[in-house]
């Protein structure tokens, strides 16, 4: 009669809204300009990275400051697939995910020996080491970087169909393809995290986050759980990194391993939106983009504002903007908490 469920009315409404949004998103290139598509690509990829970092730090307690390692290695592996192996860029994106996964194994082996703050710095050092090593790779341009060759970018699978479908030029078609892939990736990553948190693994994660020792005592294999989260996050970050650089078609160690772009921004998005919720990064990325658009002409003032905003949020609303909204309205768009469902219990208080 009674069962545990994470299902709520708001949750079901969200699922329907997501489906509508995705369908609308797929059709969007027919009615909007290339500039809007590029902005949306940027928003979607940043959102993907934010969801992944939120999984790591907000749910897994793994505060990594070195996620740029996986963005960079993913992007470089994609470039290697295209330039050295002659793969199609879209197929080479998968190579990016694999390379990030491969890098994550030694990284985890090393970083999991470190606790708390040491872990954060350890991941950062590994990202630096990876960047410096990649900068030695002369076939991919060494320290100055390189571009995707013309012949590779001109015949990416699917772009011809997009060109005829929307009547756009080749470069715009490539943006549309990248945008669709980004849409697919963000839905897949967010969906996976949502599913993960509602599964038994999510319960174990919550237990570990609340109290490691207690979780261990009731049989949660903390080590394996952390490995799993770290590897999944790394692979997904690698895929995202590869996709980002398919769109830009130009790479350098500085850009691919940029701590500001791939970790600082991402952390700010999660913090401002609300850490430890799926809704938080979504709110955060919208605020981030709005700030970026509003302050685009003011150069470094924009980043300064972002940094100060993150400090203000940590001081005055540690659960972020979504935390404020959720506390006022009681709304949970992506409910992951288990509730007892069944007939009302009489006689209780």
């Amino acid at each position: 009669m009674y069962r545990l469920t994470t299902r709520t009315r708001a949750g079901t409404a969200t699922e329907i809204a997501v489906i509508v949004l995705v369908v609308a998103g797929l059709a969007l290139p027919a009615v909007t300009s290339r500039g809007v598509i590029q902005d949306l690509f940027f928003i979607l990829t940043m959102l993907t990275l934010a969801q992944i970092w939120n999984l790591l730090a907000g749910y897994g307690g793994l505060v990594s400051v070195g996620q740029q390692a996986f963005v960079g290695i993913g992007a470089y592996a994609m470039f290697a697939g295209v330039i050295l192996l002659g793969w199609n860029p879209v197929a080479a994106i998968l190579l990016g995910g694999l390379a990030a996964l491969a890098l994550a194994v030694p990284t985890a082996f090393f970083a999991f020996r470190l606790q708390g703050a040491y872990f954060a710095i350890g991941t950062w050092v590994i990202a630096e080491v990876t960047r410096l090593l990649i900068a030695q790779w002369k076939a991919l341009g060494g320290g100055t970087g390189t571009s995707l060759p013309r012949e590779a970018t001109s015949n990416i699978m699917g772009t011809d169909a997009i060109r005829t479908l929307f009547g756009v030029r080749e470069a715009a078609a490539r943006d549309i393809l990248a945008y669709w892939l980004a849409l697919a990736l963000v839905v897949a990553v967010t969906g996976c995290i949502y599913w993960l948190l509602r599964s038994r693994l999510g319960l174990a994660l919550a237990a570990v986050r609340d109290n490691v020792d207690a979780a261990q005592a009731v049989g949660v294999d903390v080590r394996r759980l952390k490995w799993a989260v770290f590897l999944i996050a790394a692979a997904a970050t690698g895929l995202t990194g590869a996709l980002i650089f398919v769109q830009t078609a130009r790479i350098s160690p500085e850009a691919a391993f940029a701590v500001t772009d791939w970790t600082a921004y991402v952390i700010f998005i999660v913090v401002i939106g609300g850490i430890g919720t799926i809704e938080g990064p979504i709110v955060g990325v919208l605020v981030f983009f709005a700030l970026r658009s509003a302050l685009a002409d003011y150069g470094s003032w924009y980043l300064m504002t972002l940094g100060l905003a993150a400090i203000a949020v940590m001081l005055f609303a540690p659960k972020g903007l979504w935390g404020l909204i959720s506390a006022r309205s009681g709304l949970h768009l992506f409910p992951v908490r288990r509730r007892l469902a069944g007939p009302k219990i009489e006689g209780g208080h």
């Binding site: 505060v63 050092v125 003032w301 940094g307 940590m314």
Partner: protein, 287 residues
């Protein structure tokens, strides 16, 4: 004798890194606070000294001496107004706040001073060197190393032989019981960060006199400093010096083989130590 020269130059470079790290080590040891803005605070202090030199026409040493109390106050305020509010069991909030501060500081400096490289003029000391027979060493690196040792001796003296140092250690052990002894942990933390900023100013003086700097170089200094602290072991200032020397020697040795490998070699030395001794070379017994 090239290897001996490499070793000596590396050790002297390690002095600079130890100086970067000493303030970090102090704060880290007392309140387990990870200040990700530490490198940017060093750069900030370097600009403060530079302004004293260019705007007021002071000598770098006098300018640094004036900058020290200013930095002490800023550190005290930062801790009292911001960091004390996010200190707790969860390491994430202070980490995120100092990360935000790091980015804000970098870009504030960029806005104020542009991305141009600057240098604190050191007059005749620049490029001066001493012939020690087997090796020739720069006067500036030698002074850096000596200053690092002086700073560590002074901090250790403070830590182990004064009432304030006793309060530091007691608060680090058990803040609640320290409160029962009439010690305000938050006040102690604010003073500790203030002192760390005085050391930061000393580090900034040498950073600015020895090489060019610009607003973007903070995070790299933070990493070197952190590597030195972690290699040395939490709470051990002499360990921090040893850590700095290991990074410095590794970098110099790496550069001797291939100039592009300088930074990489330092990081790899850090990773190697961490693999062998995850708690550092001289971990404190209690922790």
């Amino acid at each position: 004798m090239i290897w001996l020269d490499t070793l000596v130059q590396g050790m002297l470079l390690g002095g600079l890194y130890a100086l970067f790290a000493a303030g970090l080590s102090l704060v880290f040891g007392i309140m387990r606070l990870v200040n990700l803005a530490h490198g940017d605070l060093i750069v900030f202090a370097a600009y403060l000294v530079l302004m004293g030199v260019t705007l007021l026409g002071l000598s770098p040493w006098v300018a640094a001496l004036i900058a020290m109390p200013v930095m002490f106050m800023l550190g005290w305020l930062l801790q009292a107004a911001v960091l004390n509010r996010v200190l707790g069991k969860d390491i994430l909030p202070p980490l995120l706040v100092t990360f935000g501060l790091s980015v804000a500081l970098q870009n504030g400096l960029l806005e104020a001073f542009s991305a141009d490289s600057r240098r604190i003029p050191a007059g005749a000391l620049e490029g001066a060197s001493l012939d020690l027979g087997l090796v020739t060493v720069g006067v500036m690196p030698l002074m850096t190393f000596a200053s690092a040792i002086c700073a560590i001796v002074a901090l250790n003296g403070l830590f182990y032989h004064t009432a304030l140092g006793r309060a530091f250690r007691a608060t680090s052990d058990d803040a609640v019981t320290a409160g029962l002894m009439g010690i305000e942990p938050k006040r102690v933390f604010a003073i500790a960060t203030g002192i760390a900023m005085v050391v930061v100013t000393l580090a900034a003086l040498y950073l600015g006199m020895r090489a060019n700097f610009d607003p973007s170089i903070g995070p790299a200094r933070l990493i070197y400093a952190f590597e030195a602290v972690i290699i040395g072991g939490l709470g051990s200032l002499w360990g921090t010096l040893a850590g700095g020397i290991i990074i410095g020697v590794a970098q110099t040795a790496g550069a001797a083989v291939n100039p592009e490998w300088q930074i990489l070699a330092g990081h790899i030395a850090f990773l190697a130590v961490m693999l062998l001794k995850p708690r550092g070379l001289f971990p404190r017994a209690v922790d």
